[in-house]
């Protein structure tokens, strides 16, 4: 009897699942491979569901493919096997690789133009889209989740050390002084740590101080660009961090965002990290914390400029029918709509990609209710981006990040000076660029 009942239920479920498909003309399926697991993955699914319910012509199917690197590798393997997804999420360091893959990628501006749907590139925040735009302003990929580097600080520890929590340090020397006080007062064992050292203390550091990270407008100007992040200002900053280790002002937190544990466990009271870490800290920190703009070196003219983004964007792959691209365009319009984008921004801490979504969030009073969530945006739009602060675009940059990590470890372990380490990183990175230029001629 029980078996029979189970069978009936199963049949009913199948019937319910099949019926709508039979009743309507089958919608065109759009595959989207992304790298958001956990809560973010559920959010991605609900965005797609919202789009699928809003119309009947297209069905976006999101698939979680693992980490950024896993997703990109899976997309590339699928392209080679001639079975790619329509939309592939690629992290920012993969941008140059995607751009160089002519024939594999269909630029977003083309997709939007051919779809005939309304598309206004000026509706997007230039500091966000700039990273994914050509020199002459053509948008190549659709930014989806972008964040930037900011400073987090432990308000409880600040109070304990007699520091004013309303006035977080604005410059690096001021941060050094604050860290000394924190350690001396026993408010935290160490002052400062950081996640994503290469991204924050080299890439963002360069943009924030308006110094070039590489030649040819940070690589936007062509494949023959080379790295220059061993210039004196970078060396000065990294050497300072290394020297600060002795006085417990700074401690190396490990690669990627492994150092997060140092901040939420209270080992450090100052922490430079992605603005997208906000939600995680909100959940894990058992103390009050605040956010501030990244510190800068006060004697550098032009600082602070603006910071650059990290995160990922959506690339459209080649080889599909025009009506499928129309579906992709419709979906991109949907996620760029103020309501969807504002909701994504508020839920995740990623930057909104359109001005309208930003305005909407402001109007809803989100920033007043959640102090600290606007810091990243204010920092991004502080000044009109220059050649040095629009972003960076170098081939094989993921590997260069790897090289930076290894050199950072040599510097912070005292095996090399900052000058030696950065010189070696630039040398190894430039060898990759030469190889990349050769392979993509």
């Amino acid at each position: 009897m029980k078996h029979l009942r189970n069978l009936r239920i199963a049949l009913a479920v199948i019937a319910i699942m099949v019926m709508p498909a039979c009743a309507l003309a089958a919608p065109i399926t759009i595959n989207w491979w992304h790298a958001h697991g956990g809560i973010l993955g559920e959010k991605v699914n609900s965005i797609c569901e919202g789009f699928n319910k809003s119309q009947t012509a297209y069905q976006v199917v999101p698939t979680y493919k693992g980490s950024y690197a896993d997703t990109m590798t899976a997309g590339i393997a699928a392209f080679r096997a001639k079975n790619p997804p329509h939309i592939l999420q690629v992290f920012e360091v993969g941008t140059a690789t995607m751009m160089a893959a002519k024939g594999a990628v269909k630029p977003v501006y083309e997709v939007m133009k051919q779809s005939g749907l309304p598309f206004d590139p000026n509706a997007y925040l230039p500091t966000v889209t700039g990273y994914y735009t050509t020199m002459d302003g053509k948008m190549l990929s659709m930014p989806f989740n972008s964040s930037t580097a900011i400073l987090y600080y432990n308000i409880d520890a600040f109070k304990k050390a007699g520091l004013d929590p309303a006035k977080p340090p604005k410059t690096w020397p001021a941060l050094g002084e604050a860290a000394k006080k924190l350690v001396a007062a026993g408010a935290s064992p160490v002052g400062l740590s950081s996640s994503w050292n290469g991204w924050i203390h080299l890439e963002n550091f360069g943009a924030w101080h308006n110094v070039p990270f590489g030649t040819k407008a940070n690589g936007f100007g062509g494949l023959d660009a080379r790295y220059t992040f061993n210039s004196p200002l970078y060396v000065k900053h990294i050497q300072q961090l290394a020297d600060w280790q002795k006085d417990k002002i700074f401690i190396y937190g490990g690669r990627t965002d492994l150092g997060n544990a140092k901040f939420n466990s209270g080992e450090v009271a100052l922490y430079t990290a992605s603005s997208a870490s906000y939600a995680g800290f909100k959940k894990t920190c058992q103390f009050e914390f605040g956010t501030a703009m990244l510190p800068y070196l006060p004697d550098q003219k032009g600082a602070p400029q603006n910071t650059i983004i990290g995160g990922a964007s959506l690339w459209v792959l080649n080889g599909f029918k025009p009506e499928e691209y129309k579906g992709v365009a419709a979906f991109f319009n949907y996620i760029s709509s103020p309501e969807v984008m504002a909701d994504w921004h508020q839920f995740t801490g990623y930057l909104p990609i359109t001005t309208a979504a930003y305005e909407l969030t402001k109007k809803q009073g989100f920033y007043e209710k959640n102090p600290g969530t606007e810091t990243a945006l204010l920092q991004m739009i502080l000044n009109k981006p220059t050649e040095n602060s629009k972003g960076i675009r170098f081939g094989d940059h993921a590997k260069t990040r790897d090289i930076m990590d290894n050199e950072f470890e040599a510097i912070f372990a005292g095996q090399k000076t900052a000058k030696q380490g950065l010189d070696d990183a630039v040398k190894a990175g430039n060898e990759l660029l030469v190889k990349f230029e050769k392979a993509n001629k």
């Binding site: 590339i76 893959a101 094989d396 790897d402 290894n406 470890e409 912070f412 190889k435 392979a439």
Partner: protein, 293 residues
């Protein structure tokens, strides 16, 4: 005299070996030939443009100090893993062989870690030794050891060696225990009657009789440490700090799948293929013959 069985029908033997041949071709010969082919190409990640570059990829490798350093790291890592896994397993096997009560329980517990996937093992050890929140790191700090494997290359190496060996101990233990139990008790009893103590009995009787097992395990362990440990490295150190644990097989994975340098990665796997072929030759040619059974 050898006994020969001859098939009457001509095709039957071919049909019988066909499944094995097909599996070898599909899962070994074909991928290996692809690796050989890719190792002489330089292409973009999507394969839309590719240049034949002769042996440039190999020349690049051997002129890179990072790669040569990786060789050195791999040797240190592999021999340490094999050495640690073998000695600890032998010790445990000798003790388990003597245990009379609840011997099965000990054995089961010791064999367990082998069922743990390398990446999971890596994560377990990662949490134990995490410099900020790890329990072992905390105890070490109490003992005055400044544990920070994210910066200290020596500590990172020690950690990955322990994590990689931990799992292999179970495997070695099984073989050693079987080997110990195959040694006739009369030998040991005879030696005991002649007045040999336990230490002497072990080194003059048990150990030589175990040598075939030990040599087999040495080769298996080194092959494991060379090729099967990238999960542990990935979960624990990602080759860092400053290339201190960047073993060859991790570099293949990292360059190929993370950094998408397919040509360079293929060239590295060709070199690794040569290493494993020579290890196998050594095993069959020399060790199997020299060891007395």
């Amino acid at each position: 005299m050898e006994k020969r069985v001859v098939f009457r029908k001509k095709f039957l033997p071919y049909i019988l070996v066909a499944p094995q041949i097909i599996i070898t071709v599909v899962f070994f010969i074909w991928p290996a030939s692809q690796a050989l082919y890719q190792s002489v190409l330089q292409e973009d990640a999507f394969g839309t443009s590719s240049n034949f570059v002769w042996l440039d990829n190999f020349i690049d490798l051997f002129s890179s100090s990072e790669y040569l350093h990786s060789f050195y790291v791999t040797l240190v890592f592999s021999f340490s893993v094999a050495g640690l896994a073998l000695t600890v397993a032998l010790l445990l096997a000798v003790m388990a062989d003597r245990a009379i009560r609840s011997a099965t329980a000990y054995k089961t517990l010791i064999i367990w870690p082998y069922a743990v996937a390398p990446v999971v093992a890596g994560v377990l050890w990662y949490f134990l030794f995490n410099p900020t929140v790890g329990m072992m790191a905390f105890f070490l700090r109490q003992l005055g050891v400044n544990w920070n494997h994210t910066l200290n290359g020596g500590q990172a190496m020690a950690l990955v060696i322990i994590a990689a060996a931990w799992r292999e101990i179970s495997y070695n233990f099984l073989f050693f225990l079987a080997g110990l139990q195959a040694i006739p008790h009369s030998f040991i009893e005879a030696a005991a009657i002649d007045g040999a103590g336990p230490w002497r009995r072990f080194w003059t009787i048990v150990f030589p009789l175990l040598s075939p097992t030990a040599f087999f395990l040495i080769v298996v362990n080194i092959v494991y440490a060379f090729f099967d440990t990238f999960g542990v490295i990935h979960a624990l150190t990602r080759g860092g700090p400053s290339y201190a644990t960047n073993i060859l097989v991790y570099k293949v994975f990292n360059d190929g799948f993370i950094n998408l340098d397919l040509g360079g990665s293929a060239a590295q796997s060709v070199i690794l293929m040569l290493v494993v072929i020579s290890l196998t030759v050594i095993q069959f040619r020399f060790i199997e013959r020299k060891v007395h059974y």
